[in-house]
Amino acid sequence: MVVDDHPIWRDAVARDLEDDGFNVVATADGVAAARRRAAVVQPDVVLMDMRLSDGDGAQATGEVLAVSPSSRILVLSASDEREDVLEAVKAGATGYLVKSASKQELGAAVRATAEGRAVFTPGLAGLVLGEYRRIAQVRRTGPPGTSLPSLTERETEILRHVAKGLTAKQIATRLSLSHRTIENHVQATFRKLQVANRVELARYAIEHGLDKE
């Protein structure tokens, strides 16, 4: 499923994917349409733009996963890797690719996402690292007994290498690990952020009495 509010771009990407042997089951231009169609077609992979007609990609990511939990979200954005991409990862996206990526790169990224692997860039790794450091700060200054996640030493090491532009293969060689292990570590950091996000949202709801409504 392709979600993008720009019709020319949406159709072009859909056609590229069809040429590449994928089956595009639906397209959508906004959050509401994406949620409705995902609920019906239960797509394996959702290609998600960050700016949509009625909201943003992070919001759409959360809503699609709520109605189609087995879908995997790959963010395909023209925007630089800023807060909104981090929000999408926190909402459950497992991959990020810039729109300037080639047709081959796009195909490879969709395939990797469908297999449950993480697709990432140095910029995204920098954002994720920064987010964990923010969380560490919150844990130090916030109320004790909170169960916010942290990175293991290995995960920090790997994210730093990714952020400095080393490929998974190069990192694997340096650390004498398998290529796949590196990807799993990165994916684990994404997943933990998603959990942290749920914890934070839930606490926010309780603190503000939203859970009683």
Partner: protein, 358 residues
């Protein structure tokens, strides 16, 4: 308002003392001058020209002249026993005007002028500040009103600037959204399709791709907030170096440092990036990572170029590479931080600049 109240007070004083004056008729005539001048001042103030320094100077002169005119209408003994004729309260108008227009120093000077005039009338200066508090009051009024006016003016100027910044920021956001939704998408599409078609179209695609990336950088750089007072975001500063050959990874939140420190750290990182461009080879790509560890900030600059081969250090000195390295280390030491360099043949170079937060 104060002017009106002080006029009423002066009127009451005039009615009360006039019989005691030597020349009551001139007294009333001078009182008419006082009222006329007060009205003129009020009009001048409302019209705006009364807020100019020249008008305030005229006001001080008129007030001093009216005080001195006490000589004309009253006996020395009366002047000695009473406050000067136009009343101290009314005379304070001049002090207040001067303080409002030109600040506390000029306000206090005006107060002194008013006091000198009344001292001349009385023929002596009363040093007993306990009994003659007028000089203290004049100075205090000049100082307090002057400072209040300055503070108010500064606050007003700051408010105006903030409003201007907010407006220009909104405008930039709007532009960036439009560019993003329109031009960038189309350029990305052209570059993509063009590359697939190949041949001459591929060259066009390359051009479109370059423009797309340039526009994207432009749009994201306009989102940078100007340095907030004495702090600066080292992340936003380094993001401006991002290009096809330089990738910059940042945390989502700004990494704030003292503005001067940020400038030096940026200069050190920029040195390292320039070094990459000059020496790492034409295919080299540089990666910048900014990390905020709370009590310290780390900037890493890695490239995948040719590195500095063993045994080439002497050549490297000759090429100026070691000079640059020394200047980076020197800068970081001066800031109280450290700079580490890892390099080897074929493995590129990696700088790690660490700066503790004070």
């Amino acid at each position: 308002m104060f002017r009106l109240l002080s006029c009423i007070y002066a009127l009451g004083f005039q009615i009360a003392i006039n019989p005691a004056l030597d020349r009551p008729v001139i007294g009333w005539a001078l009182f008419a001058v006082l009222i006329a001048w007060s009205v003129a001042c009020a009009v001048a103030y409302l019209q705006g020209f009364g807020r100019r320094p020249s008008w305030v100077l005229a006001e001080i002169v008129v007030v001093a002249a009216l005080i001195l005119s006490t000589e004309l209408i009253a006996s020395d003994q009366w002047a000695f026993d009473n406050q000067s004729w136009p009343t101290t309260l009314w005379a304070t108008n001049a002090t207040i005007s001067a303080a409002i227009v030109s600040g506390p120093i000029v306000g206090m000077l005006a107060g002194v002028v008013v006091m000198v005039a009344s001292t001349v009338v009385k023929g002596f200066f009363n040093f007993d500040l306990g009994r003659n508090a007028t000089i203290v009051i004049e100075l205090a009024v000049g100082l307090a009103v002057g400072m209040a006016a300055q503070t108010a003016r500064r606050a007003h100027a700051e408010l105006e600037q903030a409003a201007r910044l907010a407006a220009s920021h909104q405008e930039r956001e709007r532009l960036s959204r439009q560019v993003h939704d329109g031009a960038i998408q189309v350029l990305a599409l052209v570059s993509r399709r063009g590359r697939e078609i190949g041949g001459e179209t591929a060259e066009l695609a390359e051009l479109a791709g370059e423009q797309e990336r340039a526009l994207r950088r432009l749009v994201s750089s306009t989102e940078i907030e100007p340095a907030l007072g004495t702090t600066a975001d080292i992340g936003a500063m380094l993001r401006q170096r991002a290009s096809d050959r330089v990738s910059v990874s940042l945390p989502a939140d700004p990494v704030l440092l003292d503005a001067d420190v940020a400038k030096e750290l940026y200069a050190a990182a920029a040195n390292a990036l320039d070094n990459v461009a000059a020496h790492a080879g034409p295919e080299a790509h540089a990666y910048v990572l900014v990390e905020d560890l709370g009590d310290s900030v780390t900037v890493s600059i890695r490239d995948d170029g040719i590195g500095i081969p063993d045994g080439r250090l002497v050549d490297a000195v000759g090429e100026g590479r070691i000079g640059v390295a020394k200047s980076i280390v020197g800068r970081m030491n001066w800031l109280g931080g450290s700079a580490k360099l890892n390099t080897g043949p074929g493995s590129g170079t990696e700088w790690e600049l660490t700066l503790p937060r004070r």
